[in-house]
Symmetry: C2
DNA sequence: TATTAGGTGTACTGATCGGTAAACCATGTC
DNA sequence: GACATGGTTTACCGATCAGTACACCTAATA
């Protein structure tokens, strides 16, 4: 089972889409930048949209894997991990190849909620929220799903400001807010 | 001084760009949907990008005008107005023509920070923050500019979740958080 | 009445869009 | 050796892209 070439394509396409946008990236550009012939691309994916969806799926597993692994590396307890999420975000924002949230961009470019690309993107934030709720529950916090929604809101807001804000430290701003929310959600009050 | 036709163009183009995206909207589509000939369009704007910038400027004044006017209508004191912002956002999210933040989309489609469209969009969030800081100062709150940054973060997060979230009440979630932040920033403690 | 400004429609440019056709080439397996 | 698999190159399709050229219309002004 040699999926090598297909995986290579999706991996490179993901980077190009992320850096360049979806609609702004033509198939000819994908050919030249990946070094993979157009015929091969269309042998693996029937349409450009299918390739975009595969890219979003790869990015989804990558980002979630990275984020929650980094949270575990930075903190020992579930409660501290929730706070550490914003430190991980801060690291992400300062990476040279940071270009905002790929899923927010996907929703921007494909607005129709029925469009499979839009669905794939909105699924991502739902998965993040669900995973945060699990950790909040593991930490013994009150109303974990409500808290998870608030933390997801803070995360998305921080990403937007990191992308659109002139300077500032949105990750740390969000962290300060998150600490207050988490303190209030601890059963000991 | 008859700016009528040009204003009509920008107004209609803004609605189309907002509903449809920038790159996804071709000039020919603008011609058919506005009823204004392509020759006229290019007599007023040298390039499509120039028209987009004019649209963003119109949208900027419209949105800021609407938001802060609505805040004043909903609440009497500056302090209550800051909280009322999230009620105004909630109204916006439930309008049938809500399609997310036009400026976030502009940044998504034109990522280069040097691109004038990107600048125009990031300017918008800076203007919102500045205006919030003024109100926070008027309310006598501590560290008004820091609070304004936090409120802007909450606002942007709420908009993203309203666009990408499956259901939920992001505006009210953000409002609950904002109330806590504002309470902590009141000098009486 | 002559001129000018602002508008229109039509037709066009070269480039690029997503996607396809056909012939070819290496690899490994039966 | 036959043959399928997975890849390549090259050329092409019709449609659409942003933007232009040109001739024409109309209304206000001088």
């Amino acid at each position: 089972m040699r999926q090598t070439k297909r995986d290579e394509l999706v991996e490179k396409a993901t980077a190009i889409f992320y850096r360049n946008g979806f609609q702004a990236t033509g198939m000819d550009r994908l050919v030249t930048e990946t070094g993979i012939s157009k015929t091969s691309i269309y042998k693996h994916f029937k349409t450009k949209d299918d390739l975009i969806i595969a890219s979003l799926q790869l990015r989804d597993t990558f980002i979630r894997g990275w984020l929650f692994r980094r949270m575990e590396e930075l903190a020992a307890t579930p409660l501290e991990q929730l706070i550490a999420m914003f430190d991980a975000l801060d690291e992400w924002f300062h990476q040279p190849d940071f270009h905002g949230c790929m899923f927010a961009k996907a929703c921007s470019e494909y607005q129709d909620p029925e469009h499979p690309i839009n669905r794939e993107a909105t699924d991502h934030v739902a998965r993040i929220s669900a995973q945060l709720a699990i950790i909040a529950g593991r930490a013994g916090l009150r109303q974990p799903s409500e808290l998870a929604r608030q933390l997801a809101l803070l995360k998305e807001g921080a990403v937007v400001l990191a992308t659109m804000g002139r300077g500032g430290t949105p990750a740390l701003d969000a962290k300060a807010i998150a600490i207050k929310l988490i303190n209030e959600a601890t059963p000991g009050k």
